[in-house]
Every structure is written in structure tokens, then in C-alpha cells.
């Protein structure tokens, strides 16, 4: 199987879907001539021309709205945000137009649109450019939220997102673009709403999505050295959330730690805990713990930024607490 970067896996998904269906087009800042701020759209302008790879002005609300309108008219837009921080300007189009249209038209007007771009912190980009917004979008009925962690997932999920008739929030990772992995060629489709066991284990379940999957896997390696077998479950899609797969794992391990990059209050993990305590209450041997980003605007200072992000050591510590291997 070919080894691709996450960036090129996305590029492949876009290229294949644009070739497959001429209604699919890409629009955003610098996606054409510059080939994307993170080079995800490399070669697409050349291959599909300026009608289908559209450079927009710096107007997030504007081009998001154009995208929603195009979707209403029957096209399948892929709207790239340079990062999800800038999409705050477009959130009215996403939440009030894209997410509501099917419902408010009595099912007459589907919005088959994908909004995509990198989310979460990179490195020393400070408070305004280091934010994880998946919980915001996952809150909204009418949206789907996808957070691929690996190149293969990136390709398979983006292809499914483009074919989906609902607005899909597709959150990538700036720090993930260079990650390499095996990616199946051609028709590699991963259905939305299906979690993936990234590492099987028996003693504790670690639920993590996007960049945090790598953190969870590293923690699992550390735990293995101490004889603890951790299972890493990646929901991949946050809305709809594949609770059955998470529950199956928790029923096996009796313990769970949830890792997310975002803030703790009303975070993704809070919803996962809700499902676990309700559906697997009698299988729990310890309270479910969460490892989240610190409840602060992201510090610019490198050391403070490091402290504010979840890392493997924090996940290991939380896992030991649910295993009663550490007091506290």
C-alpha cells in the first residue's frame, strides 16, 4: 500500500472526488494559484481549472455563504478555511444557513457542503490561532463533524464527507499534514459515524480523536512498559458519535480516560462521559477521567503552551488513577 502524507491523502481524496463528480468544486483563500496555505490543493487548479478551484477574497463569511448558496443550487462545494480560527467569521453561514436549511425547508433543500481546514494548536501561534472548535460544531443539529487522525482516515473520511448530502465540518490538523501512513488507493471510503480501534487492549480504554490519537498511542506504549494494556478508540466522527464501539470497549476494560485538545467545559469528552455513565454504569470500576487542554486562552510562551496541552504523561497519569495504580 502506498505511503502518503496526510496532506497528500487529502489531496488524493479531493482529486478523486472532483474527477468522479463535476459538481464538486473547491473554494477558499489561496487554494488555487498558491495551491493552498498548507498545499492540500496542490495541482488541482492545473487539473480542474479556475471554474472548479476558486481563489476567494479574504472574506470568510462571504465565501462560506457563496458555498451554501451553491449547495442550494445543486453543487457540492468544498470550502477551505485557512484555519478554523478564521471560520469564526463564517459561523453564521455554517450554523444558521448550512445546518438549518434542510430542516427549515421541510426536507426540500439539502446542503451537501464540506467545510474543511486545520483546527487545534500548532506551535506558538498564541491564543487566537490555537483553538479546538470541534465541540462548538458538534453541538449543532444538522451538522456532521469529522476529525481524521491518520492519512488513511483523512482520505476515506473526506471522500465520504464530499458524498454526504449534509453539511460536514471536516477538521484537519496543522501538525498532522506531514504525518505519513499507508493509504489505500482508489475507492477508499470510511463511513461517517464509525469509530476505529487504533490499538486493542484489555485494561483501560483511552478515547481520543484527531491529534490526540497519537498522544493516546504514545501513552499506551508507556503503559505497556508497566504491564498495562490500554485500548485506544478513535471515534473519527464526533457527530454522529459511535457510542456503541466506545461502550463495547469500556464494558471490556471497566475503565476509561478521554483525551481531547479542547477546553474541558462542555467538551467532546463531556458528551462521551455522559453516554458511558448512562449506558455502561454497572461496568465502571472507576470514575471516567478526562485529559483536556487547560481552561485558559492558549499561552504563547513555549513552556506554558506545552503545559496547557494534553500529552502522553498526563494520559498515563490519568490511566493509572482509573486503574487505582496511583492515589489521588
Amino acid at each position: 500500500m502506498p505511503v502518503l502524507t496526510y496532506r497528500d491523502a487529502l489531496n488524493q481524496a479531493l482529486r478523486e472526488e472532483m474527477a468522479r463528480n463535476q459538481d464538486v468544486f473547491l473554494m477558499g483563500e489561496e487554494v488555487g494559484a498558491y495551491q493552498g496555505a498548507y498545499k492540500v490543493s496542490r495541482g488541482l487548479l492545473e487539473e480542474f481549472g479556475p471554474m472548479r478551484v476558486v481563489d476567494s477574497p479574504i472574506t470568510e463569511l462571504g465565501f462560506a455563504g457563496v458555498g451554501v448558496g451553491a449547495a442550494m443550487a445543486g453543487l457540492r462545494p468544498v470550502i477551505e478555511f485557512m484555519t478554523w480560527n478564521f471560520a469564526l467569521l463564517a459561523i453564521d453561514q455554517i450554523v444558521n444557513s448550512a445546518a438549518k436549511m434542510l430542516y427549515m425547508s421541510g426536507g426540500q433543500v439539502p446542503i451537501p457542503i464540506v467545510f474543511r481546514g486545520p483546527g487545534g494548536a500548532a506551535l506558538m501561534l498564541a491564543a487566537q490561532h490555537s483553538q479546538s472548535f470541534e465541540a462548538w460544531y458538534a453541538h449543532v443539529p444538522g451538522l456532521k463533524v469529522v476529525t481524521p487522525a491518520t492519512p488513511a482516515d483523512a482520505k476515506g473520511l473526506l471522500k465520504s464527507a464530499i458524498r454526504d448530502d449534509n453539511p460536514v465540518i471536516f477538521i484537519e490538523g496543522e501538525m498532522l499534514y506531514n504525518q505519513k501512513g499507508e493509504v489505500p488507493e482508489g475507492e477508499h471510503l470510511i463511513p461517517l459515524g464509525v469509530a476505529d480501534i487504533k490499538r486493542p487492549g484489555t485494561d483501560v480504554t483511552i478515547v481520543a480523536h484527531a491529534k490526540m490519537v497519537a498522544v493516546a498511542l504514545k501513552a499506551a506504549e508507556e503503559l505497556e512498559k508497566e504491564g498495562v494494556s490500554a485500548e485506544v478508540v478513535d471515534p473519527r466522527t464526533l457527530r454522529p458519535l459511535d457510542l456503541p464501539t466506545i461502550l463495547e470497549s469500556v464494558r471490556k476494560t471497566n475503565r476509561c480516560v478521554i483525551v481531547e485538545e479542547g477546553w474541558p467545559l462542555a467538551g467532546i469528552g463531556a458528551s462521551v462521559v455522559d453516554g458511558i455513565q448512562r449506558e455502561a454504569f454497572d461496568d465502571l470500576d472507576a470514575p471516567v477521567l478526562r485529559v483536556t487542554g487547560a481552561d485558559v486562552p492558549m499561552p504563547y510562551n513555549r513552556q506554558l503552551e506545552k503545559l496547557a496541552k494534553p500529552d502522553a504523561a498526563k494520559v498515563v497519569a490519568a490511566a493509572k488513577r482509573v486503574l487505582y495504580l496511583a492515589q489521588g
Binding site: V291, A294, N301, L304, R321
Partner: protein, 428 residues
């Protein structure tokens, strides 16, 4: 709370021997404390005045907990005084304040004063007291409750090792292993009800675990779990032993020995002859013991303890008899010192007095074996092709297979049999 025995993890304050304000001298007894095996004396380490009694009689605390304050007459003790009403905590070390929650990032306090918490953990209550006997609140995980219900265990009898004494799956598993065999045993044909144990008709009677019962449970689970047992049974003719004992008794009270004394002596001599059995399995090696110390299981109220007859192979029968009698009495009075009940290299457990024909005993680690002794009874045997009536005794040896193999144990048992069937051989 001082560690008053090598295995003591917590102690129950039985009685104070001094009052607040009493002058005490180093070495004087302050209080009596029940450890996992015996009632011991807690003595003053310095001259001074017993300024404050922190722990009430009947309370149980872990080793290291504050029990009382001895100081100068006018010394300021406010700094070492615990804050108001110090609840004795079992399974201590739970306070979360000092040891920074894992992953707590002390991020800069932003102007908006958000809390710098990285791990959004459910706040565990800071070290509440262990449920005392009589309190109905039992902290347990949902899984532990479900497992206990499935296994018919009463959670109030399961010691919890989780935060704040929470009972977890691990605790239920440990308790299950200890409780199940007893539960499976057929009810004894009780003619006379054993006092103190009777439950009201139609009701139940729950008795919290004593420190000793907890220790027995933990030790036995430690043994039957990791120690691979196998069992060898032999029937020993006791006619000559019977005659010898009767003969000795005829010489006067000073010459009275019990069958158990004979058995201890025979076992000790056999251990000397079979050093492979006088051994212990350690994680990476087998340790052979140069001395022969025979433990003898003694039933005491609500438990058992195994006092040790040291150098039993070198002691005469009368010496063994006298020592066994004293040790058994001290054991029943709960007055054994740790030196008196630790260090055996092999044990003997005798249930003959309870009319048990034969049974198997659980090894007391790190010993490699234990001999379970049944009653001596007249039984029909075939001797020289003829049916005959003989006094016989059945013994079953439990062996730690990591140390003792079948043939090794069998040869040892042959020697024991030879000694007991021919008591004169013990003179050699």
C-alpha cells in the same frame, strides 16, 4: 501508630494505659494495640507527659498515623495537633492536596481567571473517613456492586482499597477467592450452637472483619493463588505410637505428651533427613533452610495462628510438649510476639480433635509444605492377608510444586510414616 509486627499495616487501639496529663517514662506502656496477629504494647519512646490522646479506644488507623502526643509539660503542641475532629482514616495517603493531581498544568492565570485545570477529573472527596462498622454507607464502584451481587458477596464485609476505601473489582475478586470455599462447605451438623456466632432465626448477623480475619484472608489468597499446590496422602498405623504414648503417660504427669507432639517431632526429624522439603521458593531462587522450625496451626477464637517450635529436630519430646502447650495458650490469649509466630520452615495442622478423617491444608508461604493431620481411629485394615482392626491416622501433605516434586514429597512422607509407626526410630 508504630509497626508492632513485621506484617502490620494497621492497628486497633484496644485500651489506653495512661491518661492525658500523666507523666510517662521511655519504655512505659502507653496503650494496648491489636495488630494483625496479637495484642501488643505501644510504649513511650521518650520521657515526657502524655499531652494529648488523639485516637480513641476501638479505633483503627494505619501504621504511621498520629495516635497521641507526648511532649514537655508546657511545650506548645498546637502545631502537631491535628485539625478539628481527626477522623481515623484507613488506607491513608488519600489526600489530594499535596501531590498535585496528575496533569494539572499551572497555566498562567489569565485576566478572566479561568481555572488552570488540565485534567477535568471528578473531584474525589478529600479523604473522608473509612466507613466505620455500623455505618451503612459503603463506597464501591458500580462494577464492584454488580460483581458482588452476582457472587452473593456482602460488600460490607469486603475491605476496599480504592480512594477513600472505595471497593473496586480488585477487592471483590480478592474477597471472592477467600469467601467462596467457606460458602461452598456443607453446613456443619451443629448440635450445640457455637456461642457468639448465632444469627437470629430468619435473620442474618454481619460481623465486620477483625484485623486478624483480614490478615488470614489476605495471606491465604496470597498462598492458594500464586503457590501451585499438590497433595500427597498417606495412612499411618498408630498402634505403636498409641502404646508408646500410653506407656509414657503411665510414668506420671511429667511424661505426658500429645500425639501432636509426636507428629511435630517426626516431621522435624524427617525435615532434617530431607532438606529438599525444608525450603522456600523465592522469586528467582530456592532457599534451603539450615534450621528446622515447625509451625503448628492453633485455632483461636475467630481465627488461627501458627506459633513456631524452633529447632524442633533438636528438641526432645518433653521439651516440644512443654513448648507447644505454652505457645498454644499464649496464642489463645492473643499474646504471641511476632518472633513466636514467624519463621517456620514447615507447618503441621491437626484437625483430628474435630473428628476429621483427612483434609488438605493451605501452605503458609514461604514454606514449601504443610502436613494436614486427621484423627486417629480404629479402622479395618488388611494386615498379612487378614482383616484386622488397627488404629490409623491419615495425613495429607500439601506441597509447593515449585520447590517440592511428587517423589521428593513422597519420600519425606515415607520417613514421617516410618517414624510414627516405629516411635523408637525417633531415638536414633
Amino acid at each position: 501508630m508504630e509497626a508492632l509486627s513485621p506484617t502490620m499495616e494497621e492497628g486497633r487501639l484496644v485500651a489506653w494505659k495512661k491518661k492525658e496529663g500523666d507523666a510517662v517514662k521511655a519504655g512505659e506502656t502507653l496503650a494496648e494495640v491489636e495488630t494483625d496477629k496479637a495484642v501488643m504494647e505501644l510504649v513511650a519512646r521518650e520521657d515526657g507527659v502524655l499531652r494529648k490522646i488523639v485516637l480513641g479506644e476501638g479505633a483503627t488507623v494505619p501504621v504511621g498515623a498520629l495516635v497521641a502526643i507526648v511532649g514537655g509539660k508546657d511545650e506548645d503542641i498546637s502545631l502537631v495537633l491535628p485539625p478539628t475532629s481527626p477522623a481515623p482514616v484507613v488506607g491513608g495517603g488519600l489526600s489530594r492536596g499535596a501531590g498535585a493531581a496528575p496533569g494539572t498544568a499551572k497555566a498562567p492565570a489569565a485576566a478572566a481567571t479561568p481555572a488552570p485545570a488540565t485534567v477535568a477529573a471528578p473531584s474525589l472527596h478529600p479523604a473522608p473517613s473509612h466507613p466505620t462498622p455500623g455505618s451503612s454507607r459503603v463506597r464501591s464502584s458500580p462494577l464492584a456492586r454488580r460483581l458482588a451481587a452476582e457472587r452473593g458477596l456482602d460488600l460490607r464485609l469486603v475491605p476496599g482499597t480504592g480512594p477513600a476505601g472505595r471497593i473496586t473489582k480488585r477487592d471483590v475478586d480478592a474477597a471472592g477467592a477467600a469467601v467462596r470455599p467457606a460458602a461452598a462447605a456443607p453446613a456443619a451438623p451443629a448440635l450445640a450452637v457455637v456461642p457468639g456466632m448465632a444469627a437470629p432465626p430468619g435473620g442474618v448477623r454481619d460481623v465486620p472483619l477483625t484485623t486478624m480475619r483480614k490478615t488470614i484472608a489476605r495471606r491465604l489468597v496470597e498462598s492458594i493463588g500464586p503457590v501451585p499446590h499438590f497433595y500427597l496422602t498417606s495412612e499411618i498405623e498408630m498402634e505403636r505410637a498409641w502404646e508408646a504414648r500410653a506407656h509414657l503417660a503411665g510414668l506420671g504427669d511429667a511424661y505426658k505428651v500429645s500425639f501432636n507432639d509426636l507428629i511435630v517431632k517426626a516431621v522435624a526429624l524427617a525435615l532434617r533427613q530431607h532438606p529438599a522439603v525444608n525450603a522456600s521458593f523465592l522469586e528467582d531462587r530456592i532457599r534451603y533452610h539450615g534450621d528446622v522450625h515447625v509451625g503448628m496451626a492453633v485455632a483461636v477464637e475467630d481465627g488461627l495462628i501458627t506459633p513456631v517450635i524452633r529447632h524442633a529436630d533438636r528438641k526432645g519430646l518433653l521439651e516440644i510438649a512443654a513448648e507447644a502447650k505454652t505457645l498454644a495458650e499464649r496464642a489463645r490469649a492473643r499474646r504471641l510476639t511476632p518472633e513466636e509466630y514467624t519463621g517456620a520452615t514447615f507447618s503441621v495442622s491437626n484437625l483430628g480433635m474435630f473428628d476429621i478423617d483427612e483434609f488438605t491444608a493451605v501452605i503458609n508461604p514461604p514454606e514449601a509444605g504443610i502436613l494436614a493431620v486427621g484423627r486417629i481411629a480404629q479402622r479395618a485394615v488388611v494386615a498379612d492377608g487378614q482383616l484386622a482392626v488397627r488404629r490409623t491416622m491419615r495425613v495429607t501433605m500439601s506441597c509447593d510444586h515449585r520447590v517440592v516434586d511428587g517423589a521428593t514429597g513422597a519420600k519425606f512422607l515415607q520417613t514421617v510414616k516410618l517414624m510414627l509407626e516405629n516411635p523408637l526410630a525417633m531415638l536414633l
